[in-house]
Amino acid sequence: MGELCRSTIFFFDQHLCYADIIPPSQVRARIEVAVLNFLKALSSNDPSISDLSLISRNPSNSRVSRGLLTGDSWIFLSHSFCTRSLTRENSTKSFIRVWKVMEMCYQILVQEKRVTQRELYYKLLCDSPDYFTSQLQVNRTIQDLVALLRCSRYSLGIMASSRGAIAGRLLLQLDQRFEGSHLKLDQRFEGSHLKLDQRFEEPNKEVVDCSTCGSSGYAISGDLDLLEKLSMETDARYIIMVEKRLAEDRVFNQIPCILITAKGFPDIATRFLLHRLCRTFPNLPVLGLVDWNPAGLAILCTFKFGSIGMGLEAYRYACNVKWLGLRKDDINQLIPEECLAPLKPRDLQIAKSLMASEILQDSYKEEVEAMVQSGRRAEIEALYCHGYDYLVKFLATKIVQASYL
């Protein structure tokens, strides 16, 4: 039923811009078309240098889709474009950067390789030091290319960095039957649910028990193909998204749950996996535990609604995360004054954007206001002032009380 509700009737199809998940041959074809069109314009009777028209990844181009029946909302990008031009003074370098990344990706695809963003950064740094000076610049140029060719970053042959980790009551196995298949269709609509008994037909395939992975948990691969192929089994009752790190005190032994973290701002791979968990285990509520500060809430919202920066892809992986903590009542009741730190200017900036965002519900906005008014922030770890096992008690209480927004 949930899947049906997200059908095109409610989806405002004509407004949505998305990046296709397509096989390497199709991506190469798109790049070739781009090059040919550029050369055609250059060699025509009325020659011109084509501009690059990229879907804007700005708040002004973002839209909100509100699921009417499920209550899910997510952000997507619409048809507003920004232009990179060779001849306009402050756009020349960014124009050339897009072509340089295009060249790299084309070669990666021809050689049937996959690289991480970090590897790509070093390659570009050596090749064109005048144009690329930081990882951030490379990442943004990659997003430009995604916006130009309208294909996902993963389709370009670029793997997300693996920053996230997962732990808890979860068994994972790479599914042999999906080896070598290409992801063609929009994953939001194509959930494939594997029957329980089919999953462990290959006894020689390694089964990973995330509850025995150690305190750092199981590292989430940056390879989305691999993540898609994972078979999953669980007896958890909750999925808990944690901001920074997984608890060392085996929370999941006392509360049957799966813990997942991106260790900071959510990367696509972690979001992808969380989304897979949601689809595979639709009855498990997803709860979020973040620091009490605007940045923490921002992280939760990224899992929940998606992001603008990767708006052409991220909308697919939004899941209905509920805000467990830390919230203002927790702060008032549980965190002593000494454990609070002042808000940084950065936090205030983020708070401002959150308040201005149309997708954020009022209850969230009230919390943000409270943050700003108090001028204080608190980390999850502050709960430990009550004892090392306090976190478990805190979570348990919250869950029982269904105290989440």
Binding site: L39, S48, I49, H79, F81, S91, L136, I308, S353
Partner: protein, 488 residues
């Protein structure tokens, strides 16, 4: 408008100027002759020296110069604003006397006069002498004589350079309504025996060859000739890059419209030439300035115009503008060693006289610079344009590498055929160069057309859902954090 004569050269300039104007006014073909004759003293000092190569070298102490023209008769008002400067050097050379013989077509006699410029009282300046009868023959003309106490060689040395420039302007005399003027320079002297010695005629600058053409064309041809002759050891045919510009005023209340013409020539000297051939001063630009078809010193308004031009947009940096007595020198910063710039400016009224307009001069020179740029690729590029050439190179290399890394031969073939690269010549350099040249030519075209109209650029992909465009130029801000701003 008083003009103070402070040197012999200046005197000559003005006398020729006046003669030229008289020729312009005439409807007929005119001749203008400048004759320098040296006179030895009849008695006393030995004046003939025989040098080793058996040439006679005279050392007279007097030179008489006669400026004669067959233009309209002289009006004495022409001379009333000339003033004699009380200068010791000048006083030693010239006594301030001008002998004049003039007649108009309608006159029945030739008027002979003496003009004493030293005399400040206007009544005492002019002395009328007995007229000469014309015996019923109808003609017009003027003969002006001055006596200079200087050796012929010294005098020639002083005036030759100036006369060279002056001759340059003569190619401009060929206008639709103004007839040809033939000019000759005669140099001679009497020896003790009273016979004429050598008579040199300095070459007439092709005045008989050209049919009536536009004045600007003549200025262009004149400057080209001048450049070639001036740099004799360097001229190797047509490697001159030329730009011309003309600016007109809409005309004053008298309906007297003013015209300013400018010609800019750039020659890049081949590096094969020995550096001894190139002189230090060649890297500076002397402005050749003409007013009403006569070479003269640069008007202040034109000087202002030159300093106000945005030379940076042509990739040039002006260090200084030096205004010497009779010429203006532009000095440049960081001019490439083999680069030479020559500029000629001509201001004139459709009717004489004229006062040059600064805006017109500026417009004309700018026009000439733009014209030169448009017709010669790669010249006078501003810093931005040079940078764009670098960018074009980087982009071209990137595209070439992309094309050649493909394992789809159809794609490669299609790209190469679009570029016009033959299949046997396909390599990264050729493909890259081809793309680069195309990009640069489009950029150059865009720069020139940018003032005319803005065309919508083409896009790489056609998009039906194209709704609105946001021409934001985002340049990324640097930051090491994983997320810069919460991007909801």
């Amino acid at each position: 408008m008083e003009i103070e004569i402070s040197s012999v050269k200046m005197l000559y300039k003005h006398l020729i100027f006046l003669a030229v104007q008289r020729c312009r006014m005439s409807d007929d073909l005119c001749r203008l002759t400048v004759k320098l004759t040296s006179f030895s003293h009849r008695f006393g000092l030995p004046l003939v020296r025989i040098s080793g190569d058996f040439s006679l070298s005279l050392s007279p102490s007097l030179c008489v110069t006669v400026f004669s023209d067959t233009g309209v008769g002289s009006k004495l008002e022409e001379y009333q604003y000339l003033k004699y400067r009380d200068d010791l050097v000048l006083a030693n050379q010239w006594d301030g006397m001008i002998s004049l013989a003039t007649t108009s077509v309608s006159d029945s006699e030739i008027h002979n006069l003496n003009l004493n410029l030293k005399e400040s009282n206007s009544a005492g300046r002019l002395t009328k002498l007995p007229s000469t009868t014309k015996n019923g023959v109808k003609f017009s003309g003027t003969e002006v004589s001055v006596s200079i106490s200087k050796s012929l060689d010294d005098l020639l040395a002083e005036v030759t350079c100036f006369l060279q420039k002056f001759f340059m302007a003569f190619t401009q005399m060929i206008l639709v309504k103004i007839p040809k003027v033939v000019m000759e320079l005669l140099v001679g002297g009497d020896d003790l025996l009273g016979t004429q010695t050598e008579s040199r005629i300095v070459t007439i600058e092709g005045s008989s060859v050209y049919s009536p053409v536009e004045s600007i064309k003549c200025l262009e041809v004149g400057l080209k000739d001048y450049v070639r002759k001036h740099h004799t050891c360097l001229s190797i045919g047509e490697n001159l890059k030329v730009g011309t510009g003309v600016a007109n005023s809409s005309g004053s209340s008298h309906g007297n419209s003013q015209v300013v013409e400018a010609v800019v020539i750039i020659n890049e000297i081949s590096e094969l030439f020995p550096s001894s051939c190139m002189r230090e001063q060649d890297t500076r630009t002397e402005i050749l300035y003409f007013k009403d078809f006569v070479h003269c010193s640069v008007a202040q308004s034109s000087l202002d115009a030159l300093t106000s031009i945005n030379w940076k947009s042509y990739g040039l940096a002006l260090r200084s503008v030096a205004d010497h007595d009779d010429c203006v020198i532009l000095e440049w910063e960081n001019l490439p060693p083999h680069f030479r710039i020559h500029i000629a400016i001509h201001c004139y009224h459709r009717q004489y006289p004229s006062l040059p307009d600064r805006n017109l001069a500026r417009k004309a020179v700018k026009c000439a610079l733009d014209d030169l740029k448009e017709n010669n690729q790669g010249v006078l590029l501003s810093t931005r344009e040079l940078k764009m050439c670098d960018y074009a190179l980087d982009l071209a290399k990137t595209l070439a590498r992309l094309i050649l890394s493909s394992n789809d031969l159809n794609f490669q073939e299609e790209c190469c055929s679009l570029l016009g690269v033959q299949s046997q010549e396909v390599n990264p350099d050729n493909v890259g160069n081809c793309i680069r040249e195309k990009i640069i030519s489009v950029i150059g075209l865009n720069d020139r057309n940018s003032q005319k109209h803005k065309e919508a650029p083409s896009f790489l992909f056609e998009d039906d859902c194209f709704r609105k465009e946001d021409f934001m130029d985002e340049d990324y801000q640097e930051g090491e954090e994983a997320y810069i701003s919460w991007d909801m």
